[in-house]
Symmetry: C2
Subunit: 266 residues, 2 copies
DNA sequence: CAGTGGTCTAGACCACTGC
DNA sequence: CAGTGGTCTAGACCACTGA
């Protein structure tokens, strides 16, 4: 073992080494032939440590996304996931009328996209961040529409849209079912044609709802694309696309601004 | 206490409640008047639990970014940080010649930006993701330049640039010091004028180096903007901007693509 | 059912911090 | 130095899983 400070750290380092070099006896269990580590009791014996210490070591590896423990089954080596590229510049509504909720899918996957029937629509008071992006007062009423989107029957994206009440109140946007037209078409018919978008990208740890939807551990962040749509006067819609950070990267092209002038100051 | 399953969860819920409503006796200690929770021993008595159980509860709150424990001092309530907007569309080089490393700063803060003297330049073999974005073979030699950027003397951004060896080998890019000109100017002088960028945004948990630089806990992700610069033929540079996700959000504007045609299929 | 991880305890000692 | 959190132990019992 190495020169770290705490015993559980030493054990974690040793296990990581043995896992990545493959020199740890791993059982093949479970479907998908996932690799199972020795039990905690067994490791405790092997390292002359208490089970608590072993658990601390395994917790370190789990926080690094290297292993995963499942109650009643054991601890399993995780395989690296590869991220999928999602273009930020695709039109937010597509298949106008057929698929009417905003969506972002990886290239070539649009046709496989399956939005479940679970739509929600409710009225709420705008929290601080939503109010700021919509340019309204904190605590104003907004209509919230939520949809859970799956791709190949696996959780893909959580979409949450906010509309100022004075724009969306009394319209189809208040109903918890699919829209007949795209939301941008609907806004246009309300004399709020969308002319410009502002995108804001951030990331954070998932909340319990997101963890349940994505079936992800607490060690995987979510990436959030917040898209504010504006008509000629003001923001009319805020849509948040929430992805698993280990599954998605957001991509976009653009030309370089201009020929570089060696002496220029910007 | 509530209806959760585990005692430590109940305690965590209760503490969260009391912390957010302010009904927990908090000491004001430390500079900055940070609020200190009762000690673990004290909480153990109060909840009739062992200290281990209290520690589990506090771990839950720490993972949620609500509190922070400091060895030898105590557990402290964290105040919410607000994110700063960083425009994605600013030119990557600025103050041509004066500040020659690529940088992204929040609006109005460019002049406060202070890149420390710590530059690194080294040669390495391209890992899989870098090779892919640069369009070269995995394991090819690349030159890596790294800089640590501070804003108001606080850690702001880690910048890592990769150059294919056949382009940058033997040039100033190989030296671990500031460039005389901007890297894009230098590339242009090598007949690799940058004509287009591709941005790719992702997030993940920080590695130990990043945690140390940002002085962040293991519960705060990093947001990574990977920018590939291309000349007329091929990628010539990959720059990664690494930020604390709780400090930064990446922002950009764009016009809506076109007037919406109600019957259109895209 | 047997085997696994999840929770919990009581107590010990170490390492860090500020005075 | 006293007080705090950090590590570690030995053992107990619970809860989940698959056969």
């Amino acid at each position: 073992m190495t020169v770290a400070i705490a015993k559980y750290q030493d054990i974690a380092d040793d296990l990581r080494e043995r896992l990545t070099t493959g020199s740890l006896p791993l059982d093949q269990e479970a479907p998908g032939g996932q690799l199972k580590l020795p039990g905690e009791k067994e490791l405790a014996g092997e390292y002359s440590a208490s089970r608590s210490t072993i658990r601390l070591a395994l917790q370190v590896l789990a926080n690094q996304g290297l292993v995963e423990t499942r109650h009643g089954l054991g601890t399993f080596l995780l395989k690296r996931r590869t991220q999928v590229a999602v273009a930020m510049d695709q039109e937010e509504d597509w298949h106008g009328g057929q698929h009417a909720e905003t969506a972002l899918y990886p290239e070539g996957a649009r046709e496989r996209g399956q939005t479940t029937g679970r739509f929600q629509a409710e009225t709420m008071l705008a929290p601080q961040d939503v109010a700021e992006l919509l340019g309204i007062a904190e605590g104003s009423q907004v209509i919230l529409r939520r949809s859970l989107q799956y791709l190949d029957s696996k959780p893909w994206c959580l979409v949450v849209s906010y509309y100022p009440m004075d724009i969306a109140g009394g319209t189809d946007l208040e109903n918890a079912r699919r829209l007949d037209a795209s939301s941008s078409q609907l806004l246009a018919s309300l004399d709020h044609e969308v002319l410009e978008y502002t995108d804001s990208i951030s990331a954070r740890m998932p909340d319990p709802i997101e963890m349940r939807f994505f079936r992800s551990g607490s060690n995987i962040p979510v990436t959030i694309l917040s898209r504010t749509a504006q008509d000629r006067h003001r923001p009319v819609r805020l849509t948040r696309y929430i992805f698993r950070s280990d599954q998605v990267r957001l991509v976009r092209n653009r030309p370089a601004r201009r020929k570089l002038d060696p002496g220029a100051h910007y």
